[in-house]
C-alpha cells in the first residue's frame, strides 16, 4: 500500500494538471475574453463589457444559432433513423461476425474526418465520381448539382457522425435480454408492441447517449459546412472561427463560444437528469 501511494498521487496529480492546464485554463481565458472589449492593436483590451453578448442577441446571429441547431438536429435524427436498424442488425449477426463488422464501423476513424470530408468533395463535385457513375449508367442526362447544397452538408455530417450513434446503440441493444422479447411474444405482443414497450424503453439510454454524441459535435463541426456547403451556410462553428481568424474580434468569438459551451452543458445536464431518473428503480 505504502509503495503505491506516491504513484497514486502522481497519477491523480497528472490528471488534475492536465485538466487544469488544457481544459480549465483555456476555457477560463475564453470566458474572460468574452467580457472584454475589442482592442485596436491587441486582440483584446482590458475593460469589462457585456457588449459581445448583447451583439449575440442580434436576429442575424440568433438565426445562425437556430440554423446550427436545426442542422445538428436533422443530422442526429438521420443518424438515429439509420443507426438504430443498423445496430439492431449488427446484434442479430452471428457472434463471430460481430467484431469484424464493428471494426468496419470504426475503421473510418483511423483517417482524420477533415480528410474524409475532402474525399466527399471528390465524390460529390460536378465531375465527381457519383455524377460520372450516374451519367455512365444513363440514369441522368447531365451532372447533378450535389456539392455546395444543404443535403451535401447533411450527408457529410451523417458520414462523420454515424459511428458515434451506432456504437452506443449497439452496446444498448447487445445488452438487451432476448428472453424479454420471447416473454413479450408469449404474452401476446406483436412486433410493433414489442418494439414500443420493450426494446425502445430498454435501449433508451443508448438512444440518448447516441444523440448526445452526434448532436453536440454536430453543433461545432464547421469544416463540413465549409467544404461541402460552400460559404453559403453560416453556422455557430464557422462564426466562431471567423471571429478569431478573419474578423479578429476575439471578445465576440469568445462570447459565441461561451454560448455554445453553455448550451452543450445544459444538454449534458438534462441528459444526466434523465439518466438518473431512468436508473432509479431499475435493476441494481
Amino acid at each position: 500500500m505504502r509503495i503505491r501511494e506516491p504513484f497514486k498521487l502522481l497519477a491523480v496529480g497528472a490528471i488534475y494538471f492536465w485538466l487544469t492546464a488544457f481544459a480549465l485554463l483555456p476555457n477560463l481565458l475564453v470566458v474572460i475574453a468574452s467580457v472584454l472589449e475589442r482592442g485596436s492593436d491587441e486582440f483584446v483590451a482590458f475593460a469589462f463589457t457585456l457588449d459581445s453578448y448583447r451583439r449575440l442577441l442580434d436576429p442575424l446571429y440568433l438565426g445562425v444559432l437556430l440554423d446550427s441547431l436545426g442542422l445538428a438536429a436533422a443530422t442526429t435524427a438521420l443518424c438515429l433513423l439509420l443507426g438504430y436498424p443498423f445496430a439492431y442488425l449488427l446484434t442479430r449477426m452471428p457472434a463471430r461476425w460481430r467484431p469484424v463488422l464493428l471494426l468496419l464501423v470504426i475503421i473510418p476513424f483511423w483517417t482524420s474526418s477533415l480528410v474524409r470530408t475532402y474525399a466527399m468533395v471528390i465524390l460529390l463535385q460536378t465531375n465527381g465520381w457519383l455524377n460520372q457513375i450516374l451519367l455512365g449508367l444513363g440514369l441522368i442526362a447531365e451532372p447533378l448539382e450535389l456539392l455546395y447544397t444543404e443535403p451535401a452538408v447533411i450527408a457529410g455530417m451523417l458520414y462523420a457522425l454515424l459511428p458515434f450513434m451506432i456504437l452506443p446503440l449497439y452496446a444498448a441493444l447487445e445488452k438487451l435480454d432476448r428472453r424479454l422479447i420471447e416473454a413479450a411474444r408469449d404474452l401476446g405482443a406483436g412486433w410493433i408492441t414489442i418494439f414500443r414497450r420493450i426494446i425502445l424503453p430498454l435501449t433508451l439510454p443508448g438512444v440518448v447517449a447516441g444523440c448526445m454524441l452526434t448532436f453536440l459535435p454536430g453543433l461545432g463541426m464547421f469544416y463540413v459546412a465549409d467544404l461541402l456547403g460552400g460559404a453559403k451556410t453560416m453556422l455557430v462553428g464557422n462564426l466562431i472561427r471567423d471571429q478569431f481568424l478573419s474578423a479578429r474580434d476575439w471578445p465576440f468569438g469568445a462570447a459565441a463560444s461561451v454560448l455554445l459551451t453553455g448550451l452543450m452543458g445544459l444538454l449534458l445536464w438534462a441528459y444526466y437528469l434523465s439518466s438518473r431518473r431512468a436508473g432509479r428503480g431499475a435493476l441494481p
Partner: protein, 369 residues
C-alpha cells in the same frame, strides 16, 4: 374433440444435425399437472419451446385443444410460459408486468386494475404492485412471473424449471404454493425440472426423458415403484442393482440366482431360463440385521455383508454396505421409536451385518449394459 388438451405426435427436432427430440408422443389431459423430468440436455425444455411456439418442430404434429399449432406464432397461442430466468420486464413495475398481457387484450381501466390486483393477491404480492422487479427477492420475482402468466387465463401454463434459482426452503414452499394454485385455477401445468423429488411430489403424471426420448410416462408412484428401464430406475431416486440370472421360470414367479444364492421373485415381465436380469432394490427397502439379531437358521437365508460407511442424516441413517459377494448396496434406515432406535441404528464401520429386502418390492428388468 378429444380429452387431450395437448397432443404431440411423432414430434422430432434437431439443431444442426444434432437430434434433441426423437419421435416424441405425449398426451396431456385438461387440468393435469404434468412434469417433464430428465437430466439437462434431454430435450425437456425444447418441448416447452415447441409448445410455446418459439421454435418450429422438424417433424410431427403439435395440437393444442385439438388445433394444429404448426403455423401459429407464440403471440396467438393460448399458452403462457413461466421462464427459468423469469424474464420480467425490468423497466416496468410489478403491476405493469402483470398487466402486459391483459392490456394487449384491450382490457382497460377498472377491469384491468381488478384483474391484475386479484392475480397479485393470489400470489400474495398486492403490496408490491408499485415496485420494479429489481427491488424484489428471487422468490417474489418468481411469483410475479407466475402472476404475469396466469393473469391471461391460459389453457396451458408452461413452467421451465421455475424453482431452480430458489434456495431449498423457498423451493419447498413454492412447490406447495404452485400445486395449490394449479388445483384452484384448474389450468393444465406442464412443468419442466431435473429434480426428481420435485417431479414426484407435485405431478399427476411424470414423463421421464433422456437423450430426446421419453423413457417412461406415468403416475409418480408407477415411475418410482415400477421403473420400466434402468435409466428411469437410476434417475428417479437411488436404487441398488444386483445382476442375476434366471434359473427357473414359472411366470410370474422366477428363481433368480444372485451369486451363490437363489431367490424366488415375482415380475410382470416374461423371462426365459438363462436370461440375465437386473434386480433393483430401493435403499429404503433394504433390511439390515445385526449379528446379535435372529437365529442361525434365519440368518442362513440372508446375505452376509460388512458396513463400509455410515452417514447420519437426521431422520435417517444411510449405510453403504458391501456384500460378501462383492456388490455394494446403499441403504436407508429410518429411526423407529418403538424399536430402541438409538441402539438399533448405531452402526459402526467394519461391522458385520446380514441383509435382505422386502420381497416383491424389488423390480426385475432385463439386463442392459
Amino acid at each position: 374433440m378429444n380429452e387431450w388438451v395437448i397432443e404431440l405426435r411423432n414430434v422430432s427436432k434437431a439443431y444442426a444435425a444434432h437430434a434433441v427430440l426423437r419421435n416424441i408422443n405425449l398426451q396431456v389431459r385438461a387440468g393435469e399437472f404434468l412434469t417433464l423430468l430428465g437430466p439437462s440436455g434431454c430435450g425437456k425444455t425444447t418441448i416447452l419451446r415447441l409448445l410455446a411456439g418459439f421454435e418450429p418442430a422438424d417433424g410431427g404434429e403439435i395440437l393444442i385443444g385439438g388445433q394444429d399449432m404448426r403455423t401459429l406464432p407464440p403471440e396467438q397461442r393460448h399458452v403462457n410460459t413461466v421462464f427459468q430466468s423469469y424474464a420480467l420486464f425490468p423497466h416496468l413495475t410489478v403491476f405493469e408486468n402483470v398487466a402486459f398481457g391483459p392490456r394487449l387484450k384491450r382490457i382497460r381501466g377498472e377491469a384491468l386494475r381488478e384483474r391484475v390486483m386479484d392475480t397479485l393477491r393470489m400470489v400474495k404480492l398486492e403490496d408490491f404492485a408499485g415496485r420494479k422487479p429489481g427491488q424484489l427477492s428471487g422468490g417474489q420475482q418468481q411469483r410475479v412471473a407466475i402472476a404475469r402468466a396466469v393473469v391471461n387465463q391460459p389453457r396451458v401454463l408452461l413452467l421451465d424449471e421455475p424453482l431452480s434459482a430458489l434456495d431449498y426452503k423457498l423451493r419447498k414452499a413454492m412447490q406447495l404454493e404452485l400445486k395449490q394454485l394449479q388445483r384452484r385455477l384448474g389450468i393444465t401445468f406442464i412443468f419442466v425440472t431435473h429434480d426428481q423429488e420435485e417431479a414426484l411430489s407435485m405431478s399427476d403424471r411424470v414423463a421421464v426423458m433422456n437423450a430426446g426420448r421419453i423413457e417412461q410416462f406415468g403416475a409418480p408412484r408407477q415411475i418410482y415403484e415400477a421403473p420400466e428401464n434402468l435409466f428411469v430406475a437410476r434417475f428417479v431416486g437411488e436404487i441398488n442393482n444386483l445382476p442375476g440370472r434366471v434359473v427357473a421360470a414359472a411366470p410370474p414367479r422366477y428363481d433368480i440366482r444372485l451369486h451363490d444364492r437363489v431367490v424366488n421373485l415375482k415380475s410382470p415381465y416374461v423371462f426365459g431360463v438363462g436370461d440375465r436380469v437386473n434386480v433393483l432394490i430401493r435403499p429404503e427397502d433394504v433390511r439390515i440385521w445385526r449379528e446379535c439379531e435372529g437365529s442361525a437358521e434365519e440368518r442362513a437365508a440372508l446375505f452376509p455383508a460388512v458396513v463400509e460407511g455410515v452417514v447420519y442424516k437426521g431422520s435417517t441413517v444411510d449405510l453403504v454396505i458391501r456384500l460378501d459377494s462383492g456388490d455394494v448396496l446403499s441403504t436407508t434406515q429410518f429411526f423407529n421409536e418403538d424399536d430402541q432406535a438409538i441402539v438399533n441404528l448405531d452402526f459402526r464401520e467394519g461391522e458385520r451385518v446380514f441383509v435382505d429386502w422386502v420381497h416383491d418390492w424389488e423390480t426385475i428388468l432385463p439386463h442392459e449394459e
